[in-house]
Point group: C2
Chain length 280, copies 2
């Protein structure tokens, strides 16, 4: 980044301060920062749950604010009042997540908030929590079509040719939503036969397809097996073409993962398949 | 939940409305809701990125507000002004993430925000994005000690006895932070030999231990292999005891995963090992 005189501007430092993991502060702050065409240096400071840690944070922030001509930005999700008051004394632009929302929410709900350290990313409801771990293990045990034994237990079965992103999406669905996602790679035999693979027929209502642009698929595969038939453009084109034809013919919903993130694909699947989340 | 007269109160419905995945709205809203001892019905409405979708959301919210005596709560991260203005007309308590923070942030940064649909959970920086996928593949390829071939590439090697949560933590580190986390299960031989397993010696600086309470370990293992020696309390006690003794003797940092979430363990590892995130 350069300023109006073409002079390079130092990166603006942003701190995400939390009494727990910092995930909420990061998520909050990051989505705000993506709205600005500014280079940021992002620092997460988790477990700031007492006045000593808070004082150290203030020192760290102030050390920076003396160097750069731009004061740092602090996003805080700290709920303990005494800790928050200390943080507020730092020489920085202080954005307080709880001040902004907690009091209006207390008014709306007609109850006081607990003001206790957030359980948002803690174990919290252990039933919810083990649902998540179970879903995670399910995704890993049913990755890449290793077994279809428990497909009846699956919420969704993600199908696509090799390297379309089935595994990250399956794991993400488990992690984020406690959804049981199996994934099955379409083999060359499957693609030549053309129909829904026999083994998947009982679960066809659960199938969701992933596809990708052949050129992108080629480059991904080339990293794994350079100069292989597997990574040839011709092979990738053939596989993608046949996979998409099968999805269309069999009326299997699918998305193109080429320019779409894991989160977006996962959200699309939950949304389009009307899946019920087990975890929030 | 019951009110002051002991009359059961209907669940308060909370909508997370977003023009993209809804992840930011959920994270924001969920950490706020965990501050209240109230039962909520949580509904995520993603991809609300035009006026038509917005009108449907308003209808859906209003339909509810006519039934229950409590109006719904809406958390919105929608950035398009026209869509947001429509949402605001719903008969609900409207908490607008961008109104709360964007304008003060614009003032602080001295630049206008783009007001374009958030890229927070999109592909965004493709370099960052593929780093994440690579890290994910690394975690899965180096799960459960299957291979130590690329341990030199690992940022951290998570060690612990079977079923202490190594895999979910490794995958989470990859997904959330683009960190290369391998994991290695301590075998009975490893535990009897007592020292750092020979194969791990070159990477000892990267080792981080997970432990768990034997009773908890027993119940987790019993679900997998009921009445097995593997799941016996005696076996679990022996393994945990020896593993923790090894961690202590070899000065390997470790955490007890019994009552700690995946996110908290992952954050602790990043924090204590001073790992650099590749992804924000």
């Amino acid at each position: 980044m350069v300023d109006e005189n073409g002079v390079p501007r130092p990166k603006r430092t942003v701190f995400f301060v939390s009494d727990r993991t910092g995930i909420t502060a990061e998520t909050l702050g990051h989505s705000l920062l993506t709205q600005f065409d500014v280079d940021f240096e992002q620092v997460t400071l988790p477990f700031v749950d007492n006045q000593d840690r808070a004082r150290k944070v203030v020192e760290q922030v102030n050390r920076l604010s003396t160097v750069g001509e731009q004061r740092p930005v602090v996003f805080s999700t700290v709920v303990q009042d005494d800790v928050r008051e200390l943080l507020r004394t730092a020489n920085a632009a202080f954005f307080d997540f709880f001040d902004a929302f907690i009091s209006p929410l207390e008014q709306e709900l007609g109850v006081r908030s607990s003001h206790t350290v957030g359980q948002a990313h803690g174990v919290g409801d252990t039933k919810e929590y083990s649902a998540r771990i179970d879903a995670m293990n399910f995704a890993l045990n049913h990755d890449d079509g290793v077994t279809t034994r428990q497909y009846d237990k699956a919420d969704v079965v993600i199908v696509g040719v090799s390297r379309t992103g089935k595994t990250p999406v399956s794991v993400y669905l488990a992690m984020q939503s406690g959804i049981y996602a199996a994934n099955y790679p379409l083999t060359e035999d499957d693609l030549i036969n053309g129909g829904v693979p026999r083994i998947l027929k009982p679960y066809r209502a659960k199938l969701f397809g992933l596809t990708i642009r052949p050129e992108r698929l080629q480059s991904i595969r080339a990293e794994r097996r350079p100069n292989s038939r597997y990574a040839s453009l011709q092979q990738c084109q053939m596989e993608v073409l046949r996979a998409e034809a099968m999805f269309a013919r069999e009326k299997i919903r699918f998305v193109d993962s080429t320019n779409v993130s894991i989160e977006e694909i996962a959200t699309t699947i939950v949304h389009q398949c009307g899946l019920k989340r087990r975890v929030y």
